[in-house]
């Protein structure tokens, strides 16, 4: 029990470190939210007006006081209010987080549907035409930056063929068909690169598993070839695929900014970038705290599962 408590305390400590680092770094970066708020499109406010706004936003208070206020709020689950529009950061994060998670989930499913079958087929005939073609395609997919890929997909599917919208977002509740239409291109853009990774890991892992004794035994016993590949080989080859896949997905949580920009998808990354540009301290802190809490929570969960399944970890 002591080990579990220690891990929870460690996680909370890590979260506090993240909150502190984020708070300090964003406050020490040059740029003043009040100046920026009043200087839209070349506006040049009088310094007196800037001073009045700084007072209103609480920016004139000592940094220690602002930090304490920030930490106390986070402990209560309150991420504060945006300096730009006065809206609740928690509410905005909760509105945008599902959009980013949906994008990542759609891309993840698509990449698994492409990457795993391609990896398996490629491993079955490693020197065949398909294998060589797939390796070439995977190399290309991984080397093309997402914003280039996204732009190419927009040109092809929106501008030339006219099959799909170029970008944007419609809530599912307002128009499910349009919502799914708008999801296809950004999800495909992320999925193409991700499926190349899944393909490579699946292929390598299958190549490791296929020569093993238990596969040979299954074949010798007369188990059908498809069953040997799917039930015996793939099942054993999937562990490294899942590990790498999960790491990649985690990285996407705050890393979909280019895709969100190209396709005008109003997710969490875009909120973070806008917050940094406007020096909207509560927004930047709020988004990063949520993303960090997500990672730390996942790590804690994995550690606890390891601890339960393997008692040696707890020693």
């Amino acid at each position: 029990m002591g080990w579990f408590v220690r891990r929870v305390i460690q996680s909370l400590f890590m979260l506090w470190v993240v909150v502190s680092l984020v708070f300090l770094s964003i406050h020490f970066v040059p740029g003043d939210p009040a100046e920026l708020l009043l200087s839209q499109d070349g506006g040049a406010p009088d310094p007196l007006m800037v001073e009045m706004l700084r007072e209103q936003l609480g920016l004139n208070r000592p940094l220690v006081e602002q930090y304490a206020h920030n930490v106390a709020g986070i402990m209560r689950g309150d991420l504060g209010t945006s300096m730009v529009d006065g809206s609740s950061v928690s509410a905005e994060v909760m509105r945008r987080l599902p959009r980013t998670l949906e994008l990542i989930a759609a891309a993840g499913i698509l990449s698994l549907l492409i990457g795993i079958p391609a990896g398996v087929l490629s491993a079955l005939r490693p020197r065949g035409r398909f294998s060589r073609g797939a390796a070439l395609a995977a190399g290309t997919a991984q080397s093309v930056p997402v914003f280039v890929l996204g732009t190419l997909l927009v040109i092809l599917f929106a501008q030339v063929l006219g099959w799909l919208p170029a970008g944007g977002f419609t809530p599912f509740s307002r128009d499910p068909g349009k919502h799914l239409q708008l999801l296809i291109l950004p999800a495909a853009t992320i999925a193409i690169g991700l499926s190349a990774i899944v393909f490579r890991i699946t292929r390598a892992s299958m190549l490791d598993v296929l020569p093993l004794d238990f596969i040979r035994t299954a074949r010798a016993k007369g188990v059908p070839a498809r069953r040997v590949v799917i039930r015996h080989a793939l099942r054993n080859a999937l562990m490294p695929v899942i590990t790498v896949f999960a790491l990649q997905l985690g990285g996407l949580l705050a890393g979909t900014v280019l895709v969100e920009t190209v396709f005008n998808w109003p997710g969490l990354s875009g909120m973070l970038v806008a917050g940094v540009n406007a020096r909207d301290y509560p927004v930047v802190t709020g988004v990063l705290v949520v993303v960090s809490a997500f990672y730390i929570g996942l790590n804690l969960l994995v550690d606890i599962i390891y601890g339960i399944t393997d008692p040696r970890v707890r020693k």
Partner: protein, 509 residues
Amino acid sequence: MQLNRRNLLKIATMSGAALALGGRFAQAQGAQTLRIGLSTYPPHLRPWVNIGYSGYLVGSLLNRTLISYDEQGQLTSDLAESWQNETPETWRFTLREAHFHDGSPVTAQDVEWTFEQIRADGSGAYMYDAFRPITGFEVVDERNFRLTTDAPLATLPALMTFPFLSILKAGSTDSEEHGIGAGPYRIAYAEKGVSIELEPNEHYYKPELPTLAGIVITPYVDESARVAALSAGDVDLIDYVPWSSMASIESDPALALHKVDAGAFMYLSFNGTGAFADPRLRQAVAFGLRRNEFVESIFFGFGAEMTGLPRPAGSPFRHDDQAGFWNYDPERAKALLKDAGYEDGLTVSLLATSQYSMHRDTAVLVQAQLAEIGITVNLTMPDWATRVNLGNQGAGDFAVQGIGLDNLDPDAVTTLVDPSLSPVFTRSRGFEAEGLSDLLAQGRAEMDEAKRVEIYRQVDQTVLDTTTFCGLCYRATGFATRAGVEDLAMLPDQLSPYSPVLFDRLKLA
């Protein structure tokens, strides 16, 4: 239903059909609804605060000002039916019979309340400073009011056209953040960062307007995404057309480009705490630049050289000799450097930003061209937020700037050319231009236009001689639309983005 291969195939087919039909239905429903792809989702819709051009565009569809500009760039009545200068310090305004979105009439009390909100300490209103000369507000009756100023103020009607001077129903901001306005549309739906949907205001005072069944505004922050959305037919109109796309839009028969070449502009401001305290060095910079290269290389030929102050063509305040003052003259620039004691070269720092390509590329071109006359320029190009902060602190010997004037009164340039005003990042600082502030004050106080023309001629000559402002080039400003968008009213010079008449008669074929 059992999930087998056959059922899965059925679901996939039905989903595909639904997606395809969904798109067609959306097109059919949107036949008379204008779809705008806006460069930014307005940071908020609180009234009177400067929230940038995108916010103004949305505000101009919701609200109205007292006076505005017509398509010829002349002052025209909006909510104020008429106005007259009763005494040098007193203006009387008469409101037209207009109604707010909720059907209640626009009254002098509403205007008084609006002015009080703007003048309140901490309002953050764009017009807070500009309202300082207004010392009194007297409600005469429901539709008449009188304004008193501390001194004669010829610019007062132009002030009333300013963006973000929306007249709202008294007390309406208590219940709704954006208040209740009297513009042609009202908000039907808004989701932050996603879209704003507008529906017609049946109480709008202009007969038979608005013509559209509604407007859907979707932000496309990335300029390529914005152009792609227009090309793909996702939207009917986009703002902030990237200059790199203007030629292809012009040549596409399915699209139309609506622009003015003398729109917003790029210029340099100087910091007089260093070498540029010497006006000869500021002049050397102004004469050492080939402005046509800025238009061609940064704005792809969509713009115009700025060899004087930003005075509209056809305006009585524009004089040809002054408009072409800063012609490229490297020999004169070198002679000025020599006179100032920098025959062997001068090293200065230029503040710009790497966040916006037009600022970054302008800085790089200034650096390259000034090297030819012996001025070595070191570039400081942080992100925009840092650049604003450094600019306000007085960093850099000179700085790259970009702006659009929001009214056509000759006094509109004051905040850019007078270095004696409070030090902010958009204008020169740290030195004086003798007599300039007095001339500008005279211009604001003079009611006679002929006399104003002469005063502003002297203003412009002082600015040119002392180079408190160094114009570089105008950049084309405008909109791109689908070919079916008709009657988009483009106003002269830089007014279009800041005129509420822009979308008044616009219709979809």
